[in-house]
């Protein structure tokens, strides 16, 4: 048996935050220069009362309509989010009810960021190949912007909110190939939200680091230079490993779709991995870094723009918070 992607849809919140609005808030911030470097001009922001669960529901409903999917055929819901609606119950369980999917379905959340889409595909493929499920509804939904410090202009320039829904089934338009996965928890401290879990349940005191930069323990904090170095170290072997596990060479990949972290990082990684620009997809200008949503949004847009055509081998690579990374090949 094989597993395929049968449909991808996405939802973007209504509110758009433009670079002009960021300049108004941070007059000292040379946002145009930053925008040119990171390749992001605007990003979507979830409404104050809009949760990851709300956006997940909208992405799934869009998928059902767009691909004329009978929701009664869904027998598993996977939700990738780091911003669940509640500590418990699992948001995927709530979605079963909200989406009116039969109670005979399995449902679970998993907590991953930028590697989450590749991991979700691997879990969905496992469910299909083991015969546990026939139609897996795999949703990614993230509201990082709610967890950014208002003064954290760097992260506020990069991150945006979004949700996507992918149907993985026994037939479809893109066969899910073999995976290459990796983890290095020693990098946890470089991209972290320190308070709010059981380790530090109460809000913590904001401090200043040795180098004078502010520490925001109650918001998502990223050590950009360290995360950047992690990607320089791990992404080239990830691409090599993914090619090897699929029995392919670099030249046989028609399009590379990486996690859309920011343009500067992707340019560097592209050169390091010796990929020519014509086979490398960029998709962040109007959405920003939407964490686990970037790869499915890019896949959807690439397909619409015919940057992906039938017969293409497309290599996906996701990498980030954890540290966690994963790659796979889709055969269109």
């Amino acid at each position: 048996m094989k597993a395929f992607i049968k449909g991808i849809s996405y939802y973007l919140p209504v509110k758009e935050l433009t670079n002009q609005e960021l300049v108004a808030e941070f007059p000292e911030w040379t946002v145009d220069k930053v925008a040119a470097k990171v390749g992001i001009n605007s990003r979507h922001i979830a409404a104050p009362d809009e949760t990851a669960g709300d956006m997940a529901e909208k992405a799934a409903e869009a998928l059902f309509v767009e691909y004329k999917i009978d929701r009664n055929t869904i027998d598993f819901i996977l939700l990738c989010t780091q911003s669940p609606d509640y500590p418990l119950p699992t948001t995927a369980c709530i979605l079963q009810d909200r989406l009116d999917i039969p109670t005979g379905c399995g449902a679970l959340d998993f907590n991953l960021g930028c590697s989450g889409y590749v991991y979700g595909l691997s879990l969905a493929k496992g469910l299909i190949l083991s015969g546990t499920a026939k139609n897996v509804l795999f949703i990614t939904s993230e509201v990082y912007t709610k967890q950014l410090h208002p003064q954290d202009k760097g992260n506020r320039t990069i991150f945006g909110d979004a949700a996507t829904a992918t149907l993985i089934s026994t037939e479809g338009f893109a066969e899910i190939g073999s995976f290459c996965l990796g983890t290095d928890g020693s990098g946890a401290d470089n991209l972290i939200l320190r308070s709010g879990g059981r380790r530090n349940p109460s809000p913590m005191q904001e401090t200043v680091a040795e180098d004078g930069s502010p520490v925001y323990p109650n918001h998502i904090q990223m050590n950009g230079a360290e995360v950047f170095n992690f990607t320089l170290t791990m992404v080239p072997p990830l691409v090599e490993g993914t090619l090897k596990n699929n029995g392919l060479e670099n030249e046989q990949i028609n399009l590379y779709v990486f996690h859309q972290a920011n343009k500067f990082m992707l340019n560097t990684l592209r050169k390091l991995c010796r990929i020519d620009p014509e086979r490398f997809y960029y998709c962040m200008e109007d959405v920003g870094n939407t964490v686990s949503n970037t790869i499915p949004i890019a896949l959807k847009r690439a397909q619409e723009e015919t940057a992906i055509k039938p017969g293409f081998q497309v290599l996906l690579a996701g990498f980030g918070v954890g540290y966690s990374w994963g790659g796979c090949v889709l055969g269109y």
């Binding site: 220069k33 930053v34 470097k37 760097g154 180098d211 050590n223 950009g224 230079a225 360290e226 950047f228 170095n229 320089l232 170290t233 500067f264 560097t268 050169k271 390091l272």
Partner: protein, 77 residues
């Protein structure tokens, strides 16, 4: 590894500062254009050109361009 070549490559990562302002003795953190983003550009240049990864923390501990060059040479073994 040539220090002058390194100074030129280092200067090329700056968009506004004139390349003629850079020497091995330049205190790069005093330049108006130095920021966390330029530091990432320098780290990226070093990886692409010299094949080694230097940490942002170590770059920030350096004072002159020559200090960064010494860091690269040390990392290169």
């Amino acid at each position: 590894m040539d220090v002058n070549e390194f100074v030129n490559a280092f200067a090329a990562e700056f968009e506004e500062t004139d390349p003629s302002e850079f020497t091995a003795g330049t205190s790069f953190k005093d330049l108006g254009e130095w920021s966390s983003l330029t530091s990432l550009s320098v780290i990226s240049m070093i990886k692409l050109k010299y094949g080694v990864i230097v940490s942002g923390l170590d770059v920030n501990k350096c004072t002159t361009v020559a200090d960064v060059f010494a860091l690269v040479k040390k990392s290169n073994g």
